[in-house]
């Protein structure tokens, strides 16, 4: 009996091996995500990729197609995106389909991967000089690293002055390295201040804090009143979260993370004040102890459970915390710009940008595609899921209607957007920072020591990157 079973299984496996590829091809055409009027009009200019000027003047409903380069053969470009990066995969597929319809000789293939895989895949392909991807999506902290390594192309001359005027300066800065532009900003995001309106009222306040001093005061009051045990939950997870959190606390107090010469500048009175404040907050139970394990998802969960009075998170938390399916505090999650201290406010850029890879075989076609999907019209069409990079769109009444809370707050908050240090060794530096500061938060080192150690180590790393370095 066992023999028969054995043979059957082998047979089944053989059969499976011979089975034709049952994988549904990813590029099957999807229905349009939203029915919008897109009237392709004739492109008046010559067939070059460099026609950016007409775009801003176009009325929102029209999309001027960029004509494909003279070459009549079809080219295929491959784009690497992230899963659920603001836009849904179906949105991006729809954008790509629209683009392909207008440019029949350019075929676009899409790959969606997780955030971690995104960096790894870009690096492996570039390191092997494989040119697997023509366009890649980058987190705003990678352009410096990639540009220094020669992975991505300089596109400074492709972005017109008009375009530059209408894009949020912080977003543009994030794709800049040594004064040159290495990509197009595409997704915008910053850290917002969230408060549980209901709990806030119970604590006796009716407006969110404007400074961290106020916030601390409110937190103590809420804790004393027993409104909530841990008023504040943060992302002190040992990765980017810790660095980002420390950064906006520090920046609000007027401190700086790095100076103009790429030297660490956080070992300063403001830095010490910030780290001391965090350590004290943890000890006094102002911060939820799970903060050292928490990334943005965990913060959202804690906040949505009603276990936290305040939290600081990206834009995505707003809708989810107010969704009764996902949250117990639906309707009470409110948003505001991050508190300030010395500065009126300070927040960190968490957006993403697109870049053309250096070993792409079709950089022109890639640029056209990039231009299209980052254009004002397309961004407006899909603004439900991601905020646009164009400042003028924030005054657009249609958009404000779509996101009545988010847009006005964003308009204000974006003024205080600061970028994380745009240095090639950022990934190493941030690991040092997050490790050292987390050690201080866990009480294993004094804040003074942590700041000093982080500074020393980063200076050493920086040594290697000076011209003529090791």
């Amino acid at each position: 009996m066992k023999k028969v079973l054995f043979v059957l299984v082998i047979f089944a496996m053989l059969l499976a091996s011979c089975a034709p590829a049952a994988a549904p091809k990813q590029e099957a055409p999807k229905e349009e995500a939203k029915p919008a009027e897109v009237k392709p009009t004739e492109a008046p200019k010559a067939a070059e990729p460099k026609q950016e000027a007409p775009k801003e003047e176009a009325k929102p409903a029209e999309v001027k197609p960029t004509e494909a380069p003279k070459a009549a053969e079809s080219v295929t470009i491959r784009a690497l995106f992230m899963k659920q990066a603001g836009y849904q995969e179906s949105d991006i597929q729809a954008m790509s389909d629209e683009f392909m319809k207008m440019n029949p000789n350019i075929k676009v293939e899409l790959d969606f991967v997780t955030y971690e895989a995104l960096h790894d895949k870009i690096v492996t392909s570039a390191a092997a000089k494989a040119g697997t991807y023509d366009i890649v999506l980058m987190d705003c902290i990678w352009p410096a690293e990639f540009a220094a390594a020669g992975f991505i192309l300089d596109v400074s001359d492709k972005i017109s002055a008009d375009m530059k005027k209408d894009i949020w300066p912080g977003a543009l800065e994030s794709v800049t390295y040594k004064g040159k532009l290495y990509g197009m900003p595409w997704l915008n995001d910053i850290v917002y201040f969230y408060y549980n309106e209901d709990l806030l009222k119970k604590a006796g306040y009716d407006k969110p804090p404007k400074t961290y001093t106020e916030m601390t005061e409110m937190a103590y009051a809420a804790k004393k009143k027993g409104v909530v045990e841990y008023p504040f939950v943060e992302t002190f997870h040992q990765d980017e979260g810790m660095t980002i959190s420390f950064s906006y606390f520090l920046l609000a107090r007027g401190g700086k993370m790095f100076d103009a010469e790429d030297k660490p500048a956080f070992n300063s009175p403001e830095g010490l004040e910030t780290l001391n404040w965090i350590v004290k907050g943890m000890k006094d139970g102002l911060f939820n102890p799970s903060s050292t394990e928490s990334g943005y998802e965990e913060v959202r969960n804690t906040f949505s459970q009603g276990s936290s009075l305040f939290s600081e998170n990206w834009a995505y938390q707003l809708n989810m915390a107010n969704d009764p399916k996902e949250s117990k505090i639906a309707g009470n999650a409110k948003i505001a710009p991050l508190p300030g201290e010395k500065l009126p406010s300070a927040t960190i850029n968490g957006g993403m940008g697109l870049a053309i890879t250096a070993d792409s075989k079709n950089p022109d076609a890639a640029w056209q595609y990039m231009l299209y999907i980052s254009s004002k019209e397309v961004q407006k069409k899909y603004a439900q899921n991601a905020l646009p990079i164009w400042m003028s769109l924030f005054d657009d009444p249609d958009l404000v209607k779509m996101q009545p809370e988010l847009i006005p707050v964003s308009k204000e908050a974006y003024k205080y957007l600061q970028n994380r240090p745009l240095i090639p060794f950022y990934s190493e530096a941030t690991k040092v920072i997050s490790r050292e500061f987390q050690t201080a938060v866990l009480g294993k080192k004094t804040p003074e020591q942590a700041l000093k150690d982080a500074e020393t180590e980063i200076l050493k790393i920086r040594e290697q990157y000076k011209p003529g370095g090791k």
Binding site: M13, A16, A21, A28, Q84, K121
Partner: protein
């Protein structure tokens, strides 16, 4: 055998119960999570028995289309099945030949090759990742099932050879010798006598190979990008957004992805014990 005292019986059953609970509780919880609604999933404290069980996630996996993670899941299942089966067949097929040679035949320079093979099993895949990427790209094996099949076989085959070699060594010579006296060639003796006798060892090794291929993560992550070749571990890990992790879907995906290897293990369990017996001990 002396008679067991009643308290000993009690202890034995208690221990057995404990083992059963530790073994089963986590996967059962995984399953329960997969059929709980999002709200119940986020409840504090936990709803051990979901009040509103829903199989919606499984339905989604079965029917979703497009680029959504759920749709890709089905393709990944197929890919993983094909890849794991092929690798298993390759490793058992060629591995047993090589193992037989190492076990039975004397020839110069044999030992070094065995150890060189083992080296391939010992090295961490990270080491060869970047150089391998270039080669895969040049051979047009990127994002293909064949590519993964070859790579996995290269890394798993040594293990199969090692186990099977030990297994063959434990089979008495006399049986083969008898066959050869009757006019069989070496090869014939291998095929007609040794292999059938080694069925348990082959099955046990085959299970190892299947499992190792099925669950491999890092290489699949780097070398695949589309549903053409994406495997199950990658598909499951992709039920995450930039920040949000969909634990419910991961649980559902996890349950579905666990079924084939668990099923295989259960079907062939009898072979496992006897197969492991002689094979593992060098």
């Amino acid at each position: 055998m002396r008679r067991r005292k009643p308290y000993e019986t009690f202890l034995i059953y208690m221990a057995a119960l404990l083992v059963a609970i530790i073994t089963l509780a986590p996967p059962i919880w995984l399953f329960i999570s997969s059929i709980s609604t999002q709200q119940e999933l986020l409840n504090v404290p936990v709803h051990w028995i979901p009040q509103e069980p829903t199989f919606e996630r499984y339905i989604q996996i079965a029917v979703a289309t497009g680029n959504a993670s759920a749709a890709i899941f089905r393709a990944s299942m197929v890919n993983s099945m094909i890849i794991a089966s092929s690798v298993t067949l390759l490793c058992i097929g060629f591995g047993s030949l090589a193992a037989y040679s190492f076990a039975r035949m004397k020839f110069g320079g044999q030992e070094p090759f065995l150890y060189i093979m083992l080296f391939s099993y010992m090295l961490p895949p990270i080491m060869i990742l970047v150089p391998l990427y270039t080669i895969m790209r040049d051979l047009k094996l990127m994002d293909t099932r064949l590519g993964l099949i070859i790579v996995y076989s290269a890394l798993i085959m040594p293990f199969a050879v090692w186990i099977l070699r030990g297994y063959f060594q434990s089979i008495p010579h006399e049986l083969e010798d008898a066959a050869r006296i009757d006019g069989c060639t070496r090869l014939g003796a291998l095929i007609r006598v040794v292999l059938p006798l080694s069925a348990p060892g082959l099955v046990a090794t085959g299970l190892f190979c299947f499992l190792a291929s099925w669950e491999e993560f890092l290489l699949a992550l780097i070398f695949t990008s589309s549903p053409a070749a994406k495997t199950i571990p990658i598909a499951i890990a992709e039920f995450t957004g930039r920040h949000a992790i969909d634990y419910g879907m991961m649980a559902a995906g996890g349950v579905v992805a666990a079924i084939p290897p668990i099923l295989l293990a259960l079907v062939f369990q009898r072979y496992l014990i006897s197969g492991l017996m002689s094979g593992a001990v060098k």
